[in-house]
């Protein structure tokens, strides 16, 4: 099939952004009209996105060239396709969910609902920009924009807590991006160019352990010992790692749980945090290249921290009694699974990372949506308040139970597939630290079982002497919330049972064949 025109990329990114601005400008007579408008824009973008993904245009689309080495350009490669596919799948469902949820969130003290939906839709476009960026500068620009467009979403309730959480988020993100930027500058000077290409853009001489400067930028006297670049990689890793909530830079994520649930679910379990993971995968495999990094401190230091984060996130989740914050800590831990896969620095590791990126997205958004459904229907936010709700909200808790099992890694559900691939990658790498990582995965699975099943058990089997009448007035949410639940359950089971296709695809991506 003949490739599409490159202009489609621009359409893909601009459609939700302009559509989002439209939410502010169009005076909707009724709330339902606005909901229909937002859903139409989101679904159209998703369709457009899948259309482009299945007929990818040839080559890059260069929008602007600032200087020779700095340009804004778009292209979907394998990894971008995976990420764009994930968010295009989730976004319309999350919007649908938000229509029902936001009714309960808006109060006279909070921002207007149009503010929420406007920025929510714009975020879609910006995230697609990250997925489709063809070089590091483009990705960086969209990455910064992502920080900015999500601010109104977090601060939405305008409570003091929300304001503080937003500040923390802004400081962490902007500061992290500054250090990511250092990595960008070094790559621009010492790499051939900033484009993403599997294997990296550095001119690495393994024998002398020196990175040679490409003749175009500086003279040969600037050849750099590879260790300096590895240090810079650490800057980049922790800079972009802020959004992925690597310990010790993770405190913004649980705090940001004060945002409305559609935001915590979609942005703080998928779009924003996975953009961070995506960026780290990009710089590791596509910019610095694993040749330079593998087997050095640039691999071990981050890996040790990531392994620690896996356990830390889980244990914090066990300790935490606030339902949404518990899930947020679980996200901290699971994001580090992805980074662990990335840091194994082998194709199998990348498969593990990518598959966990996909599957964790679905599992975590599902469990967050359940938490949100509980909040809208009952107003209960703490785990110890959930007694007996399993009987009155059966569909919600069915979804929650399945996503809990998936997160634990029970075979037959999708979480098992990604954990299996991560462990396989770790074992095959022959790296001692990675073996410890496998141990951490096991510990984490145990802890996950504790903190997720605690909720499930409380919901289905309340303590003796529990007054059933106190929960009888609650019921399952409406169809706008139930439809996403159904779709997520089907997805989790389907990919748990028939994972061959997707793993094969990821394999191709990791080999650079797709």
């Amino acid at each position: 099939m003949v490739g599409l025109s490159n202009l489609w990329y621009l359409a893909l990114i601009l459609l939700p952004i302009i559509g989002g601005i439209g939410v502010f400008l169009i005076p909707f007579k009724k709330r339902s009209l606005m909901c229909i408008y937002v859903e139409v824009i989101t679904v159209l973008t998703s369709l457009l996105s899948f259309f482009i993904l299945f007929n990818r245009p040839e080559g890059q689309y260069k929008l602007v060239t600032f200087v020779e080495k700095f340009s804004i350009a778009f292209a979907f490669d394998g990894m971008g396709t995976i990420f764009a596919g994930l968010i295009s799948f989730l976004w319309p469902l999350a919007s649908l969910y938000a229509f029902e949820y936001m009714k309960h969130e808006v109060s006279e003290h909070s921002c207007k609902e149009t503010t929420f939906f406007g920025f929510y839709t714009m975020t879609f476009g910006v995230t697609l920009g990250i997925a489709s960026a063809a070089n590091l500068l483009t990705m960086y620009i969209f990455y910064e924009m992502l920080t900015l467009v999500t601010v109104p979403l977090i601060i939405f309730s305008l409570s003091r807590e929300a304001t503080l959480a937003t500040r923390t988020y802004l400081y962490y993100s902007l500061g992290g991006a500054a250090f990511g930027f250092v990595a960008l500058i070094f790559l621009s000077n010492f790499g051939v160019n900033l484009d993403f290409s599997l294997g990296g853009v550095l001119n690495f001489d393994a024998v002398s352990d020196i990175v040679k400067v490409p003749s175009t930028t500086l003279d040969a006297s600037h050849d750099l010992p590879a260790n300096v670049l590895r240090l810079i990689y650490l800057f980049g890793f922790f800079g972009f790692g802020v959004k992925t909530a690597v310990w010790p830079l993770s405190s913004w994520l649980p705090k940001a749980g004060v945002a409305p649930t559609p935001v915590t679910a979609l942005l703080h379990a998928v779009a924003v945090v996975k953009s961070g993971a995506f960026a780290i995968l990009r710089i590791t495999y596509f910019s610095f290249g694993t040749d330079v990094l593998k087997g050095t401190f640039a691999q071990f230091v981050p890996m040790a921290i990531v392994i620690f984060t896996i356990v830390y996130g889980c244990s914090q989740a066990v300790r935490e009694r606030h339902f949404k914050r518990r899930l947020a800590y679980s996200t901290v831990s699971n994001l580090s699974y992805i980074l662990f896969g990335a840091l194994i620095m082998s194709p199998i590791g990348m498969i593990g990372a990518l598959s966990h990126m996909l599957f964790h997205g679905v599992m975590k958004i599902c469990s967050f949506f359940c938490a949100g459904a509980v909040i809208t229907r009952t107003g209960k936010e703490y785990v110890y308040e959930l007694d007996g709700l399993g009987k009155t909200m059966p569909k919600t808790f069915a979804a929650f139970t399945i996503s809990s099992f998936a997160l634990m890694g029970v075979p037959g559900l999708c979480g098992f597939i990604s954990k299996f691939n991560l462990a396989r990658g770790a074992v095959e790498s022959g790296n001692v630290l990675a073996y410890i990582g496998v141990g951490a995965l096991l510990v984490s699975a145990l802890l996950t079982a504790i903190y997720m099943l605690q909720v499930v058990i409380r919901a289905y089997f309340p303590e003796k002497g529990f007054n059933v009448a106190s929960v009888e007035r609650y019921s399952d949410p409406g169809w706008q919330m139930l439809v996403p639940f159904g779709i997520f359950i089907i997805t989790m089971v389907y990919f748990g049972l028939f994972s061959d296709g997707i793993v094969e695809l990821l394999n191709k991506v990791a080999m650079g064949l797709f």
């Binding site: 600032f66 200087v67 700095f70 006279e108 003290h109 909070s110 921002c111 960086y140 620009i141 910064e144 924009m145 900015l148 601010v151 601060i155 305008l158 409570s159 003091r160 304001t163 937003t166 500040r167 802004l170 400081y171 902007l174 500061g175 500054a178 250090f179 930027f181 250092v182 500058i185 070094f186 621009s188 000077n189 010492f190 500086l218 600037h222 300096v228 800057f235 800079g239």
Partner: protein
Amino acid sequence: MEFVRNFPAISILACMFAAIISSGLPRKVGRVVNYSLIVLVGILSLTTFIYTLNLGESVVYVMGMFPAPWGNEIRFGVLESGMALFFSIIMALSMWGGRHKMKDEVATDKEFLYYVLVDLLFSSLLALIYTNDLFTAYVFVEINTIAACGLIMIRQNGRTIEAAVRYMVMSLLGSGLLLLGIMMTYDITGHLLMSNIKEAIATIPPTGGYVEPLLIAITLMVIGLCIKSALFPFHSWLPDAYGYSTVSSAAILSSLVSKGYIFLLIKIFYRVIGFDTIANSKILNVLFIFGLIAMISGSLSAIKENDIRRMIAFSSVAQIGYIYMGFGMGNEFGMIASIFHILSHAATKSMLFISAIGLTDVSHGSRKFIDLTGSAHRNKVAGVGFLVGSLSMVGFPLFSGFISKLQFMDVASALSYSKMLPALIVLGISTILNAIYFMKTVLRIYTPLEKMGANRAQADVATNTVASRVGINGVVVEPDFILFKNEKIYGIVIILFIALNVALGVCSNSIIAWIKTGLEMFS
């Protein structure tokens, strides 16, 4: 086109002449004279710029046809004329942006003096840019100091008088050191014209007895100009001077006056001493270290500040630090990055000052953060201006600050490790600090006021309530709203500022090319 050669001299003289006649004119006429003067200088500079660009080399203009060593010289190339053009633009925008505040800030019978002082200040800035003579430079430095003191003090309240006295003392110390340095150089070389001094310095044998006196002379000049441009630790005069003066003065002082001195310093580096000599001396390393400290300490002070104007002023300390760090990198690329940052900071900082006044106007003149809550909704244009300025300061892509950051990091990545790592780390930390205080303010001004009511009641109790907002009967009086149509000129100024900022951010390629050619013509 030979006539164009006279334009720099004409613009300096026109400013002085305008200052003289304005002192006898009514204030309205003085204002018209001032505005048309700025426009005239802008046009003259643009013509000169195009002329030098076509000529491809810098021009030495001998005043009154008296050759050196008796006469006085002006020398201009692309960089000088472009800088003069840029200064005129900022000057014009700052004056227009602060125009509506003039009646509140300056007593009506003193207003004509304001224009006299601005005209004088402008003439001295142009002279600092164009002159090729060290002693002339000194004279105009003094004129600059006196005019700047007047601009601070013309807003009559106690704080400005204190600020002006502080400024005066520090500035005179600075110019005193500069004068000493110039005299010692004259003693050693026997010349005052920059190019002659350079020739004489080149003949000084490296082993002779003149090397150390020369080093001391250079050091004195550098320290003098550092004090005047508020490099850490000589910045104590700055927050009061920028924080309490009239808004136009603050914008002009922060974005132009300190930059004029820095430009003179660059000129001394290139024309008097020669860049290679200075790069090999240790002076630049010292500047590098102080620049780094300034970047951190200025931002830390800004974070602690509870007053929006003083916060912006402290941020200037940090930004001056960036410029000196660029010098300290010790190569031509660092110099280019610094000069770009001069432009970028001038454009951004004046915009922030002008926007801040719009925000305080709708908050009953209070400059405390707590009272500024929601001000961006009450004055939308000012809010957008402040947002853009803040983003530019934080280094958000597509604005001018991003290009500065990119340039500095780019240069740093090619330095030796002992300079590379400190520079990179401090740049990163400084970005975080900038983000902290600017984003805090942006969130504050965009949080709607009426919605804060309930939340504030629990959180921060009555101590912070605006006294004036609660009327006599305890009735909450809503603050005024300022719409675009009420303040057209102000709105247009902010829009122009934003356009300038974006232009610097997007067309950076050609601007950097211009700076490069300018520096080549320079020495």
